[in-house]
């Protein structure tokens, strides 16, 4: 959507601000927007702060997308890798810039190469220009913390631990994990799914889906040849498990005395109600993960071409912050109908897959 249209959306919505909430804006919203568009750099920054405040107060999703409109657009891949030197200070020391030859530890090369693979996947398949559609720089920090058993997206960059050598190896080892983390950035700039409950599980699932597709695209693998695993090879050989998650068979990725059994359900009847992990965002993501896998297998060929396209349109154009599984099912069904035709094989595959994980499509029209 052109950002000027987004402004129109905001202007229309602003008529519905609850009059009972005493919010006063000294500078009218449309003037802030005009300054962002035409003002000097300093004026733009101040106008932007004003606009963020108003948008935060109203809980809007559009503000992050608008943010990019005040910065220049780049059409080039621009990666920077930092080394936290086993501290938790971000971003750390710069170790490799875009275009520089490989240097430093293997984890530096992996973070550099696989973030490039992810950028190219989004560019080639969906014509997307980086995380924010405006060429956002891809910053990664490796060697984060001491024996750190995690990788995460902090809202502005990717961060990777080395693992403790007991349970986990370094987190840059797996291309789909890097695709997963970068996709959290894409989600942040698009549907902005809340990181809680079913919306959070969808947020996680989109990262798993596109993380897996990044790997499949890099390997030029057809759906039936892919492993549909997330984080294969991250566990040390002391752990009984093949990966963090299986999209094909949620709940089957590991079963180990130290870390327990993979708790993911693959069907709504086994949905896990929990307060931990932000309401089980990494647990219940197994349900939409399996739905995507089933569609991809049903449609055959390269999973990014049809199933991936449906999911991408849903993420970037239709889903909202608080969307739940039912909404995601309805929307992907509707998108499949729009793109491939009503009652097409593709639309029927979407319906069948959601049905197989316990979600009946409710037609919106």
């Amino acid at each position: 959507m052109d950002f000027r249209n987004r402004f129109d959306v905001i202007n229309r919505e602003s008529q519905f601000v609850n009059p009972g909430i005493p919010i006063c804006f000294i500078i009218p919203e449309y003037i802030n927007k005009k300054i962002i568009d035409k003002g000097s750099k300093k004026q733009k920054e101040q106008a932007w702060k004003n606009l963020i405040l108003t948008e935060q107060l109203r809980g809007r999703r559009l503000v992050t997308g608008l943010m990019s409109s005040m910065f220049s657009v780049s059409n080039k891949l621009d990666r920077t890798i930092f080394d936290a030197e086993n501290t938790e200070n971000l971003p750390g020391t710069l170790v490799r810039r875009e275009g520089e030859k490989p240097k430093g530890a293997k984890t530096v090369s992996e973070a550099y190469d696989y973030s490039g693979s992810t950028y190219n996947f989004y560019k080639d398949v969906f014509k997307r220009n980086s995380i924010d559609t405006r060429g956002m720089k891809l910053d990664s920090t490796v060697h984060y913390g001491e024996e750190y058993n995690n990788a995460f997206w902090n809202g502005t960059q990717m961060v990777y631990g080395d693992g403790d050598g007991e349970i986990f190896q370094r987190f840059t080892k797996s291309i789909d994990v890097i695709g997963h983390e970068l996709t959290h950035g894409v989600t942040q700039y698009e549907a902005a799914l809340e990181y809680e409950g079913q919306a959070g599980a969808l947020n996680e699932s989109f990262s798993d889906v596109f993380g897996s597709l990044v790997k499949q695209y890099a390997l030029k693998q057809r759906a039936d040849k892919a492993d549909w695993l997330i984080g294969a090879g991250l566990f040390t050989n002391k752990i009984k498990g093949v990966a963090l998650r299986s999209m094909k068979e949620p709940g089957s990725a590991y079963n180990d005395p130290t870390i327990g059994k993979d708790p993911q359900p693959g069907h709504m009847k086994n949905y896990v109600n929990t307060s931990s992990d932000n309401g089980g965002v990494h647990i219940n993501s197994g349900i939409p993960n399996r739905a995507f896998y089933l569609i991809a297998i049903e449609l055959g060929g390269y999973a990014w071409q049809k199933a991936g396209k449906i999911w991408y349109i849903a993420l970037t154009e239709r889903l909202r912050e608080s969307s739940n599984f039912q909404k995601a099912a309805n929307i992907t069904y509707e998108v499949a109908g729009t793109v491939y035709g009503k009652t097409s094989h593709e639309q029927n595959a979407v319906k069948k897959a959601w049905d197989q994980v316990g979600i009946k499509i409710i037609a919106m029209k």
Binding site: F168, S276, V281
Partner: protein, 98 residues
């Protein structure tokens, strides 16, 4: 006094629970645990929101049982207090998995 640290979330989403008796802690960390246990104002600290768009971060639930007195603190990697973080790290490193 027993301290239980439950960590959830992270990319892997693996829930880990570790427990330790306060007598097995270094003296500085015993003081931290006692401070939390005795602070009448602290019962449950609800997690503040992580940065916008952030994902795959760790969340923590720290329970301190002192006789019949139970204190529970919930936080995440972005808002955990430095003293509490030292306590959590020590227990994570030096206690077996529950």
């Amino acid at each position: 006094m027993r301290i239980t640290v439950e960590r959830s979330g992270g990319l892997a989403g693996i829930r880990i629970s570790k427990e330790m008796d306060a007598k097995d802690l270094p003296s500085a960390l015993i003081r931290t645990a006692k401070k939390i246990a005795e602070d009448k104002k602290v019962f449950l600290i609800i997690m503040k929101s992580p940065p916008r768009g952030a994902a795959d971060h760790f969340t923590y639930k720290i329970s301190i049982q002192d006789g019949t007195n139970l204190r529970v603190v919930e936080c995440n990697q972005y808002n955990i207090d430095d003293d509490l973080k030292s306590l959590v790290k020590y227990i994570e490193k030096n206690s077996k998995y529950e």
